[in-house]
Each structure stands twice: as C-alpha cells, then as structure tokens.
Symmetry: C2
C-alpha cells in the first residue's frame, strides 16, 4: 500500500496475515461462484471434512465469515449464560481477549493470570477449579501470539476433564503449526482463523464444537443470531451457510487444504517445529534471548536487551530489506520482536529473516559475528534433511 512497497519485494514474517501460496492466490482469482448454485453443497461438505483433518477433530466444525475474534465470541455466546462462572487462563494479549469477550457477555470471570512469556501452570488451574467448583467453562490460548508461548493444552484439558466445565481453546495461531486434537485433549470448542497457518487472507474463521458443548448450547441464554452455531448446523445439513459465505476465501481454503494434506499433517507440524527452532537457535547465537519459556512453533518472540531499540531494529529490517516482522504489543513494545514462520514460509525464507535480523542489528551497533545466526539456523534446518 505504501510507495516503498511498489518496487521492492516485501517478505512477511508477521504472525498473521501470512504469505499466501501462488496456488491459493490463483484459486481465489478464479471466477466467483454462486453460493446457492448446485455444486456448492458438495464443495462445502468436502471442504469442512478436510479442514477437520488439520486440527485434527471429529467434532462438528463450521466456517464463519468473520475474524478469529468473532469465532471466539461464537464459542462464548453459544455455550455460556449470563452470570456463568468462567476461568480464563491468561498470559498475554490474546488471553486478555478471552477475558474481555467473557465480560462483554456478563459472565463472572475469574482470571488466572500468568506472567507474559511464561506458560500457564496446570496446577494453579486445578486449585482454581477446586476453589470454584461451579465453574462452567475454562478458556485458554494454545499459541499466545503476543508472547510466542505455547500453553500445554493437553495438560490443562486433563484437569478441566475432571470437572463438568467446558474447555474453550483459542487455536488461532496454533492450528497447522501444532496439532490440536480436540477430543483427545478434551477441548469442547476450538477456534481458528484463515490468515495464520492456513495461508489465506483474513476474513474466514472456523470453530469446532463437541457434543457436550452442543448440550450446553441448548441451555445457553445469551442472545445470538449471526454467530448462532445451531443456525450453521441446520444450514450445513443443506450444504449452505445461514448467511452469505465468503466463497472466494473458501476457494482459497480448498487450495490451501490440498497443499497441506498432500504434505501430511505430521510433515507440516515437523516443518514448523524445525523452522521455529532454527529461529530460536539463531536468536541465541546473536546473543539475544527467546522470550517464551515454552515456545510456540508458530512464531518466535525474541527478547532484546535494553541497548537495542526494537522499533529501530524493525524499521531497518522493513525499510532496508522489505522484511516485516511483528513488534511487541502493549508493555512489550520495542522490547521484543516476533518472527513468524506461519503460512507460506519455506526454509530459505526463514534464513532471509535471520539475515535481515543480523543486518538490522549491525546497523544499530549490536556486536556479534556476522553470519552466526544464519549458521546456526542452517545447521538446524540441514539436520532435518538428514
């Protein structure tokens, strides 16, 4: 959009939106289809069938025309009631988003806060559930995009599973990068969005809902219409959506799922693991730190020492090399940078991000051996090819 992007290639390493494969772009540029046409029901049914393989889930799954935030809200308004006690496991901006949404709908929110950069301690959740035995739902974040932390959803789910509470998980930046096996981990509602691992533009979200959550939906008293999953269920049984579906993004999702499932989920998860480990290794070789104590494979939050102005570093990476990374949000502004390997990012792309980081650091006077970060990253990526 800016003039500096006209002649120079831009490389996105932001934790959403993420780069989009040519094949997906081409699918989205195909002539638009009519969502009431005769071919649409089969297209939609197969699309959702294949999307379920990605998490993986066997629960009912729906595609929504909204941002990930809308899908999170859908989880709340379908399964909870005014005044319900809920516990939010929060350790970053997206944990806070759960809190904000739950409060907007008048639930009684107990926030289980953890320091930004640290994973949630499951034993504290266990205590909280003992203290509040009437808890109707626990809400957590799988990959906390603001800090790069991966929370242990499996362990949290095991604890929630000992109670009657529902377990709602924001998988917006984790899905595709990590497995999120909903049934195995006791996740009743999982949500994700298009502009992350699914390699699509923003505007499409997905939500899974377990049988237990459907039962809760039958009792829920929160008003809803556009995000009412029961309307989606009824419409889907006729191969439709309850409102106009974003058919272009769905054509892109078809292409994206084809690419992902051709690779196979194990290979895709492994690729994200290796690439994220390569970025972490590079950061350490450059005498920087990994901000996340338990890192996500979707993105790497790199902690900067006080001498480094993160905003100046990002500005150099962006204007000198066209490399766009995420900055620190809230109190972390200028203190971390976030390099994502979500989306259409291959191994060599990751090395270009590390090179731009090295050259940006050199420009602002940080001392290290040039090439040290790339060398370590190459080693990690190369090992994966053995």
């Amino acid at each position: 959009m800016g003039t500096d992007m006209v002649w120079r290639r831009q490389r996105l390493f932001t934790p959403g939106p993420t780069p989009i494969p040519d094949r997906v772009q081409e699918a989205m540029a195909a002539p638009i289809v009519y969502h009431r046409g005769p071919d649409f029901p089969v297209f939609l049914t197969h699309l959702i069938r294949d999307l379920k393989l990605v998490l993986p889930t066997t629960d009912d799954t729906f595609l929504l025309s909204c941002a990930g935030t809308g899908a999170m809200e859908a989880g709340i308004v379908n399964c909870l009631s005014h005044g319900d006690r809920v516990i939010v496991v929060s350790a970053g901006q997206f944990g806070e988003k759960w809190v904000d949404l739950c409060r907007a709908y008048g639930t009684d929110v107990k926030v289980l806060d953890f320091p930004w950069g640290e994973p949630a301690d499951p034993s504290r959740l266990e205590k909280a559930l003992h203290q509040y035995p009437d808890t109707k739902a626990v809400l957590a974040t799988h990959s906390e995009t603001s800090t790069g932390v991966m929370h242990d959803i499996e362990a949290l789910g095991r604890i929630v599973g000992k109670t009657d509470a529902l377990f709602l998980v924001d998988g917006i930046s984790s899905v595709v990068a990590h497995a999120l096996p909903t049934t195995k981990w006791g996740v009743d509602i999982a949500v994700t969005a298009s502009q992350k691992g699914l390699m699509l533009p923003p505007g499409l979200a997905a939500i899974t809902i377990s049988d237990r959550a459907w039962e809760a939906a039958g009792r829920s008293d929160l008003p809803r219409a556009y995000l009412d999953l029961d309307r989606y269920r009824k419409a889907l049984s006729e191969g439709r959506g309850p409102a106009t579906l974003p058919v272009t993004l769905m054509a892109g999702l078809r292409a994206s799922l084809d690419i992902i499932l051709e690779q196979g989920m194990e290979a895709i998860w492994q690729q994200h693991e290796i690439q994220a480990r390569a970025v972490r290794g590079a950061a350490q070789a450059l005498c920087l730190t990994c901000f996340a104590a338990s890192p996500s494979n979707a993105l790497t939050a790199i902690g900067l020492p006080e001498e480094i102005d993160g905003l100046a570093l990002m500005e150099s990476m962006r204007t000198d090399f066209g490399v766009v990374v995420g900055g620190g949000l809230g109190d972390l502004r200028g203190k971390i940078i976030r390099i994502s390997n979500l989306g259409y990012v291959d191994d060599l792309d990751v090395l270009t991000a590390v090179s731009a980081l090295e050259m940006g650091l050199q420009k602002i006077g940080w001392q290290f051996q040039a090439g040290a970060g790339v060398g370590v990253a190459e080693g990690i990526i190369g090992e994966g090819k053995q």
Copy 2:
C-alpha cells in the same frame, strides 16, 4: 467448482455474489499487507472516506469483517435494548431477516407485512407509529433482493422522522445501484455488503451510524463485542480495526471504489437504471411479467406463467449457456427468476442474459418471436447512448 465450469465461461447474473472486475482481482492478488504496518492507517482512513461518497453519507462509517447479515445485527445490538418496541417493514425474505434478528435479541417486534412483490405503503407505517408511539426503531429494506422491489426509503424516512424512532435500513443490494443519502432521508443506520454493487467477493460489510444512533448506543443494553461499533470507532481513530480486518478484500475495495468514483455516482446510478429497465423491457417483450410493482435497479424479478417451470428454465440457461441467475426463494421457488445487473456487468452482458433467457424459453416450448427481448433491450440501452 463443478466440472461443467472448467472449460466454459460462466456468466453470473445473481444478486450477489456478482462478477468482479479484473482490476479488483489484480488488487486482491497483490502480496498481502500487514494490518499493523505503518502505511495501514492512511489506507484505511482514505478507504472509508471514499466509501462514504458512494451511499452517500457523512455519518460515521465502519468496515466489518462479516456478511451483510452481521452488519444488520450490528445495527440492532448497538442501538436497541431488550424489550424495545420495533416495527419491521417486511415484504420479502430480507424483511423477514430483520424480524428474525430483532426477535433473536429480545425486542418486541411489530411486523408490518406487505405482499411479496409490492412496495411498502408509507401510510400504513404512519398508522402503526401512531398506534405504537413508544416505537424505538423502524427497520426496512431498500432493495428487497428476494422480490426485486425497491421500497421508498425517502417516504418511509419522512414518516419515521416525525417520531423519536431510529430508522435502520438494509442497503445490502441497493448501494451502488441506487442512491441512499442517509442524512437527507433520515436513515440512522444503513448497512451494505461487498458482494453486490461494490463488485467484490463476500466477506466485507459496511455500516453507517448517525449521531442520534450513537446516543441510542450509549443507552443500549444488548451485549456485544465483535460487532460493538464503539470499539470500531476507537480503533479507527488510530487507523486500525478492533480485530483483524480482511485486508485483501479491502485492497479490492480500494480498486472498486477507484473504478466507481472515476465514473461518478450519477453515471453509475444511471447505468443501473438503464440496464434494469432493459431487462424489464425484454421480459415484457417475451410475454413475461415484472414481479415487482416498484422495481429495484439492482435486479429484475421476472414472473413466470404457470406453464413455465422456472427451475427447468434456469437449468437450461446454466447448463446450455453458463448463465447463472437467481431463482425464486421460499414460496416463489420455480415461479420467478431473478436477473441481476449488479457488479461488473456491462450493457452487452445484459444482452447475453436476455439471449440466454430467450433460448432457455425456446427450449421449454414458450412461444414468442426470437430476438424480441434482445431487440427491446437494445433499444433501451441504445437510447441511453444518444
């Protein structure tokens, strides 16, 4: 999506989604941008400034990541409260959608029903407002997509304006085809969506809100978060959205607004008027009827005599010629077809729709002089070039 679309060009004359200009497709295929990047605030501000010229409106306007239905819901949840009395002017499926959404949020709905195919009679609204002087809002549809009727929003607005009620208007299929001057007509909330006159894929919606509606929003007790316009207002003051915005659709909107505003709104409205009149003229020349007593310029609902099976007609148009039109919804299934000239449809495209209609009618044995419809349509379009 279907195999029959692989080798043959498909022509969409559906009232959304509509065909998309190459220039818009190219804009959407450009590398994706980061919505937190430094260029984004200016881009977003200019985009909304220019969108406001299309309706036209001077009210606060926001872009939402949802279908048009979501924007209608946003109008309700921001300005109304549980138990509020509202009057819905309903004469088709999209009037019924207002009723459905208002009921989902617990408002006390009085439905002012008119027969499908007829425009609302303003004097009945006047009587209803006398009968229910505590009415908090009147909700109406500008172009009723299910019947092809254009309701007289100006006249309805004049009547609502004599009371304290707010006036909410669904402009989803009317905007671009018709003027919807919000302030002049006393419209407090107008909503539209991307996949109609704006020539974009579905997934982006817009909403305008008047000062009076903002005041009502301050008193409204309905829970809201994702669709909370106050969050949009605060975020927009920093050039952002409260959640991830659909940046690709917005890049398309930039291109679409450039095309529309280069033509000028007067020329665009006139083009829709001439094209819709050409289709209506053709229908009459083919001994069919115009279903709408007061027709919209966004689409033409063609009434079919009992001898003609509308589904067979549509099937021939689609499979023999790749021409996709809208069918009758609900009780009108098989009894009307809807030919839209919304979106990237030029004069000659309109003639191809009429030709496909003629050949479809011939195939199912309807008697008329071949070319009669095209001839009349050519005459109407040709007059416009004098």
